[in-house]
Amino acid sequence: MTATLGHSAILLGFFAALAGIVGSLIAARTAEPRYQAIARYALVAQFTCVTLAAAALIYGLVTTDFSIKYVAFNTTRATPIYYRVTGLWGALEGSLLLWEWILIIFAAITAWLYRDRHKEMMPWVLLIFAIVSAFFLGVVGFLSNPFETLAPIPLDGRGLNPLLEDANMMTHPPLLYTGFVGLTVPYAFAMAALIVGKLDEAWIVSTRRWTIIAWFFLTAGNLVGAWWSYHVLGWGGYWAWDPVENAAFMPWLPATAFLHSIQVQERRRMLKVWNLSLIIVAFSLTIFGTFLTRSGILSSIHAFSSGPVGGFFLGFLAFILLGSFGLLAYRADLLKEQPELDSMVSRESAFLLNNIVLVSALFTIFLGTVFPLLSEAVAGVQVSVGAPYFNTVTVPLFLCLVFLMAVGPIIAWRRASWDNLKRNFLWPALVALAVGIGLCVWKVREFLPLLGFTLLTFVVCTILYDTALALRARNRIAGEGVLRGLITLARRNQRRYGGFVVHLGVVLIIMGIAGSMTYSIEKEATMAVNQELNVGNYRILFTGLKGAQQPTHFRVEAAFHVFHNGGDEGILNPALKFFPTQQSPIGRAVHQSSLSEDIYLILSGFSEVDRNQATLKVLVRPLVIWMWIGGFVITLGTLICILPIGKPTPQDD
């Protein structure tokens, strides 16, 4: 019953999307209100149908309706209710339904928000949404149907993959999907602007908030993914450069570039072709990401089981790329007139360099991701590309980005005079240099980390210095103190100060990455009870092994008393879980965080003969907690950017 309802809703939604395509097309050509109404009603119909279908699937999951194949494969009777709900996106079919659901919600919001604006562009925007929605509904309705039924009805389900039974299952996929789908909005407007030929700044100004929000969700989604990897998978790492991880990260790069580059277009009407290309590439990469995860062409721990959908996604990707760039070429004559760069030392050139660096990073990561395919196609040789390649090529590029983060927001438009440069950057540069020298004297001898930390300090100093100067001006003009001044500054120029806070968050994340990449310590030792192990600033005392039978597995737990810099951090219990049908156990690593470093304990093994012996692997990871703190700072900065707290008289920066 639920299955029939859900499947019918999807099919109805698909036909509504088709109607939406036709309606929008005619409305765009004739501007007749009747067809505009059809397009709008089609959207409402899709929204209703998809919500109904999603509700049906959630209902089926929650009530463990095993007549639905998807429910049987992703839950069991014993699965807690919150994991049953997350089962909605636990496998291929459901995740596509989730994507479509978020898409149609965004489409509906967009249609409603701009119902009285952009009269010429809106039908085309709705057309783009209808096309994308029709594609996803078609795939869900005909190719990978979550409402397939099973007969006879099994007594119990197969259950969620045990690694997915984690709190992050509730945040990571929805955050990431929201980021991906969010990019559809600026893309749709860009396409509409191209079709209509209105290539001024109107489409950018309208979609600015959407872009920031989509960017934020992409960032958050990736960070939560890293956090999940770190605290669950038990290898002490947060990023493996797995093809699907890369696929989630790649749209972030052009999205970041786009976010910054549109400011140049708004101010100086430059970089128009860049902006259009960046949003096309960003949106295409979101489709590419779904394609990669579901096609099975690259081996990845994240991949869903491959089905027939891969080919259709590739086809859709081809349609998007060829269609969008074709449109861009078609409108090339409208994009020719634009001001020249006045000077290589200016904010425009900094933003241009920003674009180039981000696109270069995208290129290198993309190359590394598809290299196994390339190598097999060209030379017949099977290779895998891993962290060594990616770290080597991306680190220098990201260091360039850090430098640009310091320079970009502060440097003058058009042409930065020497005087201007001195005034804004001299003190921050000197302080950063001093810190760099200090770090070198203290401990940091390797070139890249030293350069990294110095540049990060430079960023912080430029932000603090500029803000301090502005606060001093507020004090002189209006007698405002620091707190009051900060609030006024933020309200008068949300994007600038929100951006500063976001940059500070990024600095913290990079600091965490730099620290953990350069100064991690690894040690493995077999210990007897009451034996101690010293690793870095930690002293670990093995106090014993304990075995216990759990409902689904047998668990061997080791107890370690951990001391950090002399202070008692308590007892940590890494464990090994033995499932009856698996030859090798699943490990449960534990970690303890502090502001300076994390300690990560992995129980590698234990002696079955001598119950007083265990093999322990210890990882000390410095500064990792700052990555997660940086994430919260980015959230705060984004809120400052987008919340309606602005003062009516905006001040130019």
């Binding site: 062409i297 081996s299 590739l314 760039f325 004559d333 598809v370 395919l373 390339l374 196609a377 049908t581």
Partner: protein, 188 residues
């Protein structure tokens, strides 16, 4: 001008799409074994009847080594074929050896009883034998010649006819140039 840009853009996009399309033509999970024509790794396997068997014990005989598990569907499909092939060669200087991996004794013995397997079978306790042979998708079959060199590897289900052909080649120390493929299931 715009035509030139369009051509440049197309010459970037189309090869990428072609490369991705190529991806559909091969199996991303398939790992080609480097073990063909190389010496087989020594192992000690505990048979289900309690005896221990090492590869050295089998020196001088052609060996058919098969990795399987009771939960593996393609292994069930090929079990009858293997038993049929064994019946044809059991009186010759050839040995069939099955190694169960990632399995429980109870399920393995039930599997052997169900298909009436009469050739020796044992369990890979520590998983080391599977690691040494690079097993990634079962069932996997290795053919080893009397001098201990691997002459052929087959990933996935194998038919009796091919088993007999390849074991004859192994007896004559003829190494195959390429490994073979059938229906397989990834190991856990």
């Amino acid at each position: 001008m715009p035509i030139r840009r369009l051509i440049i853009t197309l010459s970037i996009i189309v090869p990428i799409l072609a490369l991705l399309a190529y991806g559909f033509t091969r199996d991303a999970h398939y790992i080609t074994s480097p073990l063909l024509a190389k010496p087989a790794a020594p192992f000690t396997v505990t048979l289900f009847d309690g005896k221990k068997l090492t590869l050295d014990d089998l020196r001088g005989k052609a060996v058919f080594l098969n990795f399987w598990a009771s939960w593996c569907e393609p292994c069930r499909d090929e079990a009858n074929e293997l038993e049929a092939a064994w019946k044809k060669v059991k009186d010759r200087n050839m040995v069939f050896l099955g190694v169960a991996l990632q399995d429980t004794d109870k399920n393995s013995l039930e599997f052997l009883k169900e298909f009436k397997i009469s050739y020796p079978n044992g369990r890979d306790e520590s998983g080391k034998i599977a690691v040494d042979y690079g097993t990634w998708g079962i069932p996997e079959s290795f053919f080893i010649d009397p001098q201990g060199r691997i002459t052929y590897k087959h990933v996935g289900g194998i038919r009796a006819g091919l088993v007999l052909t390849k074991i004859e080649e192994a007896a004559k120390s003829i190494a195959s140039a390429q490994e073979g493929r059938g229906d397989y299931q990834g190991v856990r």
